[in-house]
Symmetry: C2
């Protein structure tokens, strides 16, 4: 097996430019604004102090204008939706700050922009941007997190007074985990079931004041602190209860549904389900930011672990009589380098996703298919990126041994904070199931009406094979794929076309398999709920392999964009490592379905080992190129303390 | 595919008895003594308060006599080594307490017992047991954790004064992460390179006072606080530096090596390496306790998640018009039930390991092979149990969604505390490598002398196939294995004999494969370090599949001990689930090596799904049977809060 010679050096500046991508200027701007925004001390100062620290940092971000990036230019913002997402991603070293900023400007502010109309924009946006109106996004309830469509809070229109009455009818309907609620928030976008004249119109959002200027809870509003969490303790999460709280009719964020003074309900979208999903779709930025910042945190953890792995030594090599840097051990490389390769893959996929979001947000007309495709990618990438982050940060922690367990070395804090990213802004398992449903139904209009039950029936009736649509940008990839050699070629593992075809073929096969299975089972007259539930592992796998394909295509496209030949080789090998370690993880499937032979399966493992060895000398350069703001890397083991100790020990021993 | 009908109920009391095992009385005693030993509040009270709380709980344990279990009866203890290990395992709900107790009575006290002689026992043991002498086990250094044989602290004998001079020659040689050091410890067992009359005799341990009665550091001793950690913040870890600290000659724990007044060194063990490994072997209890308590914490997390999964509902089933309990979803079952099955498997393997430790500790004569086998099992089970704990607790956290992220629901705290168990008391990766080395060399005497380099040479020269020894207790298993049907039988997946043979065959094949590979590569004249390093993933796999086999045998033996027929069926199906989910995880290997066909591979996945569905109704009973002390389960979501909310919501909706 031949792998091209790995260049000894490459143009790191070009790599950094490639990685900075379309919003390089925003990255630079945020990096600068963060210069005066240091990390809180690693010693836990207690919840209250953490919250204060994060609030101060938020206010500082607001003065630098970063907050305005995503708001309409008509109201003092910059209308740069993509840039705003990237700016949140840059906060990966301080996830409490990122989440609190995401709540204020992304979710709370974003909801006012996307679900409200001119009257709300005029009244609130300036105050939201400059933090003079801290707010909450009150959607999740204790009883309903994943299934928000079933939430229990009610907003009943009282035509006599022209007001809505917002109410929490039972404990499970209290608003739960609401960021900014426990301490700072003064207003909340409250999602509630809208009742008008005895009729139910589904979930709508209203602006509800929760505290006065002095910070005292408004009449009828009860606020509880959610208490200590596994992480993100700089965010003041709380619970909200409403006891027949009255707000004026104009408090309704009325872009997708409105109530006239006389109590007439109107909406541009007739179907209640479709209306709900359209509202959710308008809030897609939050999920995309979560995917991005998951990547950013992963990069920090990898930088800490790789820098430490390069200088930390353990066990003498009798051949050289020196202790061996731990990153020279294959087992250590295998822990960190495939994770680095996957981080690259996800980085480029994220860049594509943000671009797509940005372009759609500024497009004159967005067709429904594009919007669904965006939502599907956001869901899939959010799930894969947050799990990748959690697993990689944990792996980095273990790779740094006891040193990795000291709070000062950042890894446990990052892990604690990132943990909840796998279940908030959509539980990962639920999100992957949505991705699969979209693929199985090709985003047919019926989609939202279907639910789990109808899905199985729909697939049974109408699914006619997985139609995987391709955008124009994919054509170059198709050319590469078409040029792939036949299966028996020796070095096929490193052929980009073969790799693309392999991922593509797996996706098609799994998707068609699920469809066939659902169709077969349903035609037997079985209970559709049971049918779908029994196939759940299969359905989730369909989503995963779909996202894997999307991510690979983004990585391949980035390699193609590379103009420096040495860099192209290194990046290409990193892409090979991503592909082959992904194949290795799912080797059972490829063998079971005779996509690779036993012999080639062994060659995959050997190739992963070889690529790890080859890329090891570049590991630190590759992780540096991400351009993580320097003040997010404070771990003593990654910033000189370990290197100095090793030096002192060697001097002593000489 | 036919699976025997799963009984609707079974004798839970018999199951509890089976699980309580040989030290049922100790479990009961500790459970009782813990009645007045509640968990600290979930709100983080700050490091100092946490430490105080844990110290108070330690003192309470001491007054209940639990501390004395493992100490010699001649000195006021009970000489029950197995019971003492089980008593630490019972502290799984409060890992700071477990670790601090483990440091004081297991490591510090254990070192005095195992490495010291009568003079040390007489002088110290009573004070250690009743906590009037809090102490430290000062082995690890900043520069050497995994490779403790290379530590840098020196103890130089001064024949003129009859004293040892203990010294920290450079920063990397400071004692790091020493439990009890930052706050409470007054004495430390310090491991240091022994220098006598210009000669080096390797690592030895000495009793060194570090604080006086008033808590002031002794002259020449500097103590630093290790600071905030990712968890276990109730343990006061610290760093120790020694600046030419003098202790009397009698401070040397002199069981395996002594220095006479005139400076003559003597030892019953000539080889320096062998002496070192004999000392380490005498301290094996710590590692076994870690494996046990990892299991205990896993059970707590599973109990919280399963109880919640049973009452928590999300998404309506249109067929029943009721929301579905999340544990009814296949994806949810797949997260939790194979983990429950593996927890059973590890529980029985741990019971065997503790029995083995206990019997060897009371045996008249212990042959070296038995001792090595014990050390190997301890290393392997510690690695697998701590990783299983970390992964399962994290999975439970995610399975409880946002509720799982609240500190009050225990899961994040358990995860934070257990995290470091994967890298302390031996880094898991390093431990598995040791297990593999033992297997490859069949614990030949040369073992400890070999190191990584010699290992490869040794295997190349002498390895003649993996000889897997069997104890007498294994004979019944052999009969089951021999009765296994041929490969083509339809329901072979559920045949215990086939399962045993499958695990056994995999172990043999992998082990022989590694041996061949090392032999081949070394005979090519390659650098042995490189050869071994390039095969490191293969070597680690050998250790893993070995431990899997050992664990399965323990589970099968427990099923065989079952007398209640219904219980035997349920437990047997849990064992099937353990086997088949383990096969599923490693399916690629079985396919690649043609141990199972593509068709059977699919059947394995289907069988895992079916077993999950079958066992789901018993999930809570199965986890309850572990008999976790009730005060370790405080999570509101597992003790009624969620059930009450669901009830209130249903009442409201009617």
């Amino acid at each position: 097996m031949e792998i091209a010679t790995t260049p000894q050096r490459f143009d790191t500046a070009e790599l950094a430019t490639l990685l900075a991508g379309r919003w390089a200027d925003v990255r630079q701007r945020v990096r600068k604004s963060l210069d005066e925004n240091p990390l809180p001390p690693p010693e836990d100062p207690g919840t209250e102090a953490q919250r204060e620290h994060v609030l101060a940092q938020m206010q500082q971000l607001a003065t630098h204008g970063v907050a305005g990036l995503g708001f309409p230019a008509s109201h003092g913002g910059e209308g740069d939706v993509g840039g705003s997402t990237v700016s949140l991603e840059m906060l990966g070293g301080n996830l409490s700050l990122m989440v609190k900023a995401g709540v204020q400007w992304g979710l709370f502010g974003g909801a006012v922009v996307a679900l409200g109309t001119e009257r709300h924009h005029d009244r609130y946006l300036t105050d939201i941007m400059d933090m003079s109106l801290p707010g909450c996004f009150a959607m999740t309830e204790t009883g309903h997190g994943s299934d928000v469509q079933s939430l229990g809070t009610t907003a009943t229109y009282d035509a006599e007074t022209g007001e809505f009455v917002v109410h929490t009818p039972f404990e499970a309907a209290r608003k739960e985990y609401i960021g900014n609620a426990a301490r700072d928030g003064r207003m909340a976008v409250v999602f509630a079931q809208l009742h008008v004249g005895g009729e139910q119109h589904g979930v709508h959002a209203l602006m509800v004041p929760i505290r006065d200027e002095q910070g005292v809870a408004m009449p009828g509003v009860s606020i509880e602190d959610s208490g200590r969490k596994g992480g993100l303790n700089g965010v003041d999460n709380g619970r909200l209860y409403f006891d027949h709280v009255r707000v004026p009719r104009e408090a309704l964020l009325n872009k997708f549904g409105d109530v006239a003074e006389d109590g007439t309900y109107s909406s541009s979208i007739r179907s209640r389900n479709k209306r709900f999903f359209t509202m959710l779709g308008a809030l897609i930025r939050g999920r995309i930011s979560i995917a991005g910042v998951s990547g950013a945190s992963t990069k920090i953890a990898l930088e800490v672990a790789l820098r430490y792995g390069e200088v930390r030594r353990q066990f003498e090599n009798p051949g050289t009589q020196a202790e061996t840097p731990v990153l020279d051990y294959l087992a250590h490389q295998r822990k960190l380098l495939p994770a680095l390769a996957k981080s690259y893959a996800l980085h480029f996929a994220q860049e594509e996703l943000v671009s797509c979001l940005h372009d759609l947000s500024t497009a004159e007309q967005v067709d429904e298919w594009q919007q669904r495709e965006l939502e599907s990618r956001a869901a899939g990438l959010k799930a894969l990126s947050s799990w990748h982050a959690l697993h990689t940060i944990q792996t980095c922690r273990e790779a740094c041994g006891g040193a990795g367990y000291l709070a000062e070395n950042q890894l446990t804090g990052l892990r604690d904070d990132i943990d909840v990213f796998t279940t908030f802004e959509g539980d990962n398992t639920v999100l992957l199931q949505q991705v699969a449903k979209g693929l199985l139904t090709n985003y047919k209009d019926e989609f939202e009406e279907l639910g789990t039950l109808g899905m199985a029936r729909f697939v049974a009736d109408q699914f006619v094979g997985a139609v995987i649509e391709r955008t124009a940008a994919r054509k170059i990839l198709q050319r590469i794929a078409d040029a792939a050699p036949g299966r028996d070629d020796e070095d096929v593992l490193f052929d980009r076309g073969w790799q693309l075809n392999l991922f593509d073929d797996r996706e098609q096969h799994v998707l068609e398999g699920v469809a066939k299975r659902l169709r077969r089972a349903t035609s037997d007259g079985a209970d559709p709920f049971e049918v779908f539930n029994n196939a759940q592992d299969h359905v989730l796998r369909a989503a995963r392999v779909h996202v894997d394909r999307v991510v690979l295509e983004a990585f391949v496209a980035a390699v193609e964009r590379c103009t420096d030949p040495d860099l192209a080789v290194v990046l290409g090998q990193l892409c090979d490592l991503y592909v082959l370690s992904t194949v290795e993880e799912d080797k059972a499937w490829f063998l079971e379905h005779e996509r690779i032979s036993g012999g080639r399966a062994k060659a995959v493992t050997e190739a992963v080992n070889t690529l790890c060895r080859r890329l090891r000398p570049h590991a630190v350069s590759l992780v540096e190129a991400f351009g993580t703001p320097r003040q997010w890397i404070t771990a003593p083991i990654a910033t000189g303390a370990e290197a100095a100790r090793q030096q002192e020990q060697r001097t002593h021993e000489q």
